[in-house]
Amino acid sequence: MSTRYFGAAVPRLEDPRLLTGRGTYVDDIVLPGMLHAVFLRSSVAHGRIRSLDPSAALSMPGIRAVYAMADFVSFGSGPMPTMAPHPLLKSPITCSPLAVDEVRYVGEAIAMVLADSRAEAEDALAAIELDIEHLPVVANARQGIADGAPRAHSGRDSNVIATLRGSHGNVDAVFAAAAHRFSETFEIHRGGCHAMECRGVVAAPEPRSGELSLWTSSQSPYMVRRHLATYLGRDEADIRVTAPDVGGGFGPKANVYPEEFAVALAALACGHPVKWIEDRQEHFLATTQQRDQFWSLEVACDAAGRMLGVRGRCIHDNGAYAPYGLILPATALASFPGPYALAAFDLSIDVVLTNLVPTTPVRGAGRPNAAFVLERLADTIARRLNLPREEVRRRSFVRAEQMPYVTGGKMRDGSPVAYDSGDYAKALSLVVDKIDAAGFEERRAEAATRGRLLGLGFASCVEDTGLGPFEGASVRVTPAGKVVVATGAASQGQGHATTLAQIAADALGVDLSQVTVKAADSRIFPLGISTIASRVAVTAGSSVEIAARKVRDKAIKVAAHILEAGEHDLEIENGQVRVVGVPDMNVPLSTIARVLSGSAGVPIPAGVEPDLAATGYFEANQLAFAYGSQACEVEIDPETGDTRITRYVVAHDCGRLINPLIVDGQIRGGVVHGIGNALFEHMRHDEAGQPLTATYADYLLPGAAEMPDIEIHHIETPSPRNPIGAKGAGEGGTIPAVACVISAIQDALGPAAPFITMHPVSPEQIVEWIDQTRK
């Protein structure tokens, strides 16, 4: 097979549409008779609904209905399903589409208003008379786990819903025999996803067919369909779910949300199409976040600083519910031991309910947390033993010749973790070299003459990618000779319409412009899971490869029949199957497709099924492990505490690159998300669980003026675990970025400064540390 597109930096096929304002996002969908929904949301973090009187609201202009959960009883009732059941969760801990009795976070939906316009619906919100009895609030996880703490759910015995444990080896023996043991405690805060497009749903009942159509800004449209079908007691076949153009996801859009169900229920109840577009204020209140974790850890190392073991415990704030089961804390746990070859580890995570918006994965999903604490522990060893930070890592890493390497850890499903391939030390050496660590002290001295503190930081990570079980794809050649790829994997900007087309175009020897990718529409492809966990290139990409190869084989079989040639003498090129060495003897794919489309009374070649099409399901039974290292330089103004990242270098191995342009884009965006987590983004709540930073003036997203240019170097170690050799690239930029920036800040502040064990780090905090250092 010739490879023309795989690996090439081809411009994206979806761009011309998106660049000219011709995208179709959920809010762009307008249907006849459509009503606009808004939600009445709880203004208290924990309370009991005493009464709700919509009568005044109902008499306002443009108002068509006000619904509470009781109004939906003929269509569905009860709590939402959980996205990911876990054996430790005896029953799902989810909310109802609309709260029934108790509300457990500020922003929880209680009722909805349908009106002719969004503005009128908002007018009516203030007229709904709601009486809520305040209940005691659990405003953070450490409070929630303390003795005598109030309960986040008044009916539960404890706020701790599960304790996850991960261990390997004889940790006590390893610690007892180790030359050194160091302890640290960490406070990690991550903040929200903040896709530039908020969530949105349109639901339309089809009165004649009884079908329900749903357009949702989701990473998991098929999960929405499955769970909604179950909830409504319907067949999946009667529900069409489409994710149209989606304006960014970053994790939280992978949930199945109460609003998606409520909008569907409301559409069924009123018989009209209903649109709900989340506004930014709601996004701050009701879209899941990834918030706080508190880690107490001990690391053991030998006399040379080689990391031997890690043990300790984490308190994880899961928010008011567990819509995604225990995936987030479980992923944090499964991310140990990172790139380090540890003789033993023993870790536990207490998952705690609080009266804050639920948490679910945000880009990296607990892996950045694990990377942060592991990298800080590596830096602790370096600091205490007075070793170069790179050296501690080199001595502690899993080595290339150990691959495949069984870490002793377990995946979320309990299966053993085995890293597939790679050279971790090589990635680290690459960034050390490219950032010119050797010349750093000279640069530091120069900055000092300008009154600035310069620091150099490093961090590394390993990332499990390509999570199973599958994303499927079908490939079909139309009688016009065009290739249509269909998949259930939704796109939120990752460029699947280009990368999947590249794979199909190569397999079928057609020009890229002849390939169209259709995705995330349950009428076009039957099954899908989720665009999460850096999995689509591996899963859907491999499935396209499998399906396209089947189509190719089929085309060759038919062409052999038409050309009366042996199959081995044929090749596929330029949209034709032709005889090798005799290019004039050829048959276009369009002709083959027409033959296989059938004509009345005309037989098709024996042994070939009709339709020049095939479906592929790559079964992703084993994870592909991407990895990388990052290095950066920060410059601190010691008077203000202002911290600028002046240089940033990434070395990344995500196996074979399908499209370097797209991979680089994923990495850069991911790094900047991590920089946001290190320096800017902080979702604060007060003791009553009230959000304090719910505008873009108060919640600081990374802006263009503060972000550095990011230099990227690729190492390409093909994954042996899938047919295209790919590993995921969506989160590798984010995972080590916080650790890298913090390591650089630490270096800038010097050895006398306190050891940094938290993020985000504010300028005020930096000034305080500098003051402490000088005392």
Partner: protein, 289 residues
């Protein structure tokens, strides 16, 4: 986040505006809209009437006289930034405007809007304080001049009364060649400053300071002139001692705390930016402008 309903008025003359101000209850004036419209969208304000003053002629403009610069209340920040006359007369204004919002908001944001909204961290009211501004306001009961010292009443509160509007702002001109310095610290480009300072210095032939003005903003609810330091400066040559005194005074202000920063950090920053603004103002290169 849709604005609540209101009745919209767009008077075409000052007389019509005064008529509306006399007549309407619970009315709000709409200038550039860069602060008011977000407040409407969040529904933290819900006026019955919105009086849009964008279509009244002659409310915008930059006029220079021998002693003063007169800025129409509806002069856009974009036009202030672009004005060569202003840059030549009061170069600190252009420098400060680079910190006011963004390219995309300065196109509509006005100096009058900023001075009536009075965010504590806003640069333009601070410049007004620096230039001993006089605010020319008018209403059904006639016009009056409010001196800058009387303009700042409290947090988000100016001396403008409910039925008045701001016509123009008169800044006192400084002689050509005065030194100027501006410094602020914000987390990101375009964010409201945590603390900022502006300084103007006029030097005599013998390098002694003839006149000084220093303003600190973002620290207390309104901009504050460091009057005592200004008085100390006059007659002295510029020195580290002078700087230290100014920074110390700025650090002694009654700083606000908020969800992001403590009062102590704000006070600390006030000292830092004051020192930086004054240092800039004293640079000989600056005074040649």
């Amino acid at each position: 986040m849709k604005a609540p309903p209101f009745t919209y008025h767009d008077p075409r003359s000052r007389d019509d505006l005064i008529g509306l101000l006399a007549e309407l209850e619970n009315a709000k004036l709409l200038a550039g809209g860069q602060s008011l419209v977000p407040m409407l969208n969040f529904r933290v304000v819900a006026p019955d009437h919105l009086i849009d003053i964008n279509r009244i002629p002659d409310l915008a403009g930059i006029r220079l006289s021998a002693n003063a610069v007169v800025l129409g209340a509806m002069t856009r920040q974009w036009d202030l930034q672009a004005s060569a006359d202003l840059a030549a007369t009061a170069p600190i204004i252009r420098e400060a405007l680079a910190h006011v919002g963004h390219f995309q908001t300065r196109s509509r944001g006005t100096i009058g809007g900023s001075c009536c909204h009075l965010d504590p961290a806003a640069e333009l009211p601070a410049l007004c304080a620096l230039f001993d501004a006089e605010f020319d306001v008018a209403g059904p009961n006639g016009a009056r001049i409010v001196k800058v010292g009387d303009w700042f009443k409290g947090y988000l509160e100016s001396a403008l009364e409910e039925r008045e509007y701001l016509q123009s702002i008169r800044l006192r001109r400084w002689p050509a060649g005065h030194g100027y310095g501006f410094s602020e610290y914000a987390r990101r480009r375009g964010d409201f400053a945590i603390a900022g300072a502006g300084a103007l210095l006029e030097f005599a032939e013998d390098a002694r300071i003839r006149r000084a003005a220093i303003v600190v903003f973002g620290v207390e609810p309104g901009p504050v002139r460091l009057v005592e330091v200004e008085q100390i400066l006059v007659g002295q040559t510029f020195s580290e001692a002078v700087l230290a005194e100014a920074a110390a005074q700025a650090s002694a202000l009654d700083a606000m705390a908020d969800v992001h920063v403590s009062a102590a950090y704000r006070r600390h920053l006030a000292g830092v930016v004051t020192r930086r603004a004054l240092t800039e103002a004293a640079r000989p290169a600056r005074q040649a402008v």
